[in-house]
């Protein structure tokens, strides 16, 4: 089972997924969907790293993917805790409700 792929197709796929993630972050007002879109972007960058690692036969790409995974887990746990707190305070997940933070 020998697969041949062209490097630019993989990179374009990762770029397209990343662009979809960006669009998701920008067009959504619900915080949960924004967090989901951030996950999509992290995955897309992980795909690019793994593809680069497989291109040169080095394990570094997968090492970076493991680090991305650890960071995503940390980010999701903090983000979901924040979402729970925001929902308890505002009774809504609308990102516009947070403007009273005056940031």
């Amino acid at each position: 089972m020998k697969t041949t792929v062209s490097a630019e197709v993989v990179v374009l796929l990762a770029g397209l997924l990343f662009a979809l993630g960006i669009v998701g972050v920008i067009i959504r007002k619900n915080i949960i969907f924004m967090l989901l879109s951030v996950e999509i972007m992290l995955n897309a960058s992980g795909l690019a790293f793994v593809a680069a690692g497989s291109r040169w036969g080095q394990p570094d790409g997968q090492v970076m993917f493991v680090f991305i995974l650890a960071m995503a887990a940390a980010e999701v746990s903090i983000g979901l805790a924040l979402i729970l707190q925001i929902y308890h305070q505002h009774k809504s997940l609308d990102i516009d409700n947070l403007k009273e933070m005056n940031g």
Binding site: E8, V11, N30, L47, A81
Partner: protein, 186 residues
């Protein structure tokens, strides 16, 4: 086997597109799960079997369960979907989508101008990965451990509920208890 790669890539793209357009959070989560499984397939075809395994176990298994738990806790259902439908108008999403498409077109032009590069992916075994992880990247592993520790403590702290005092008598009682506790400590 290139056809498997293209099929998995198409599934990932379509599922991701569905994630960012669904109104119901649970539907979006299920589509994201499919997208992650397609990613795992892509990783496997790229010769990164251990990354594929991690993708399924940690992403599709653990992180998605966290999301689903939060959606269940917040009781997001029909009302949220209705609200999303109201928010997601073409007037809202047209501008950002076009701009993101422009950026992607630039990226496309850059990648395509670099010429063809067809290769057969080298299989990187979990053994090589472990050797690299625990020799060259040992400091990174320790930093990741500290990051996860900080995340656990932070999530426990942020997610803590302040106890709601329903009546002032209860509050006084609580203060007295605290005083007693302090005396006992002293």
């Amino acid at each position: 086997m290139e056809i498997a790669f293209y099929i998995a890539g198409t599934v990932a793209l379509v599922a991701t597109l569905m994630v960012i357009t669904r109104h119901n959070p649970v539907h979006a989560l299920l589509y994201l799960n499919v997208s992650l499984l397609a990613h795992a397939m892509l990783f496997y075809l790229l010769g990164a079997s251990f990354a594929a395994l991690l993708e399924i176990i940690i992403y599709a298994g653990a992180i998605m369960v966290l999301f689903i738990f939060v959606v269940m806790l917040l009781n997001l259902g029909k009302e949220t979907a209705e609200q999303e439908r109201k928010w997601l108008k073409p007037k809202v999403w047209m501008g950002p989508t076009v701009l993101a498409a422009v950026l992607f077109a630039e990226f496309l032009a850059l990648v395509l101008s670099s010429g063809q590069d067809v290769y057969s992916p080298a299989v990187v075994s979990p053994r090589e990965l472990a050797v690299a992880l625990y020799h060259e990247y040992l400091i990174g592993v320790e930093l990741a451990a500290m990051l996860l520790m900080a995340a656990v403590v932070g999530a426990a702290h942020i997610g803590r509920h302040k106890k709601l005092v329903l009546h002032r008598f209860l509050q006084e009682e609580k203060e007295k208890e605290e005083e007693k506790h302090e005396e006992a400590v002293l």
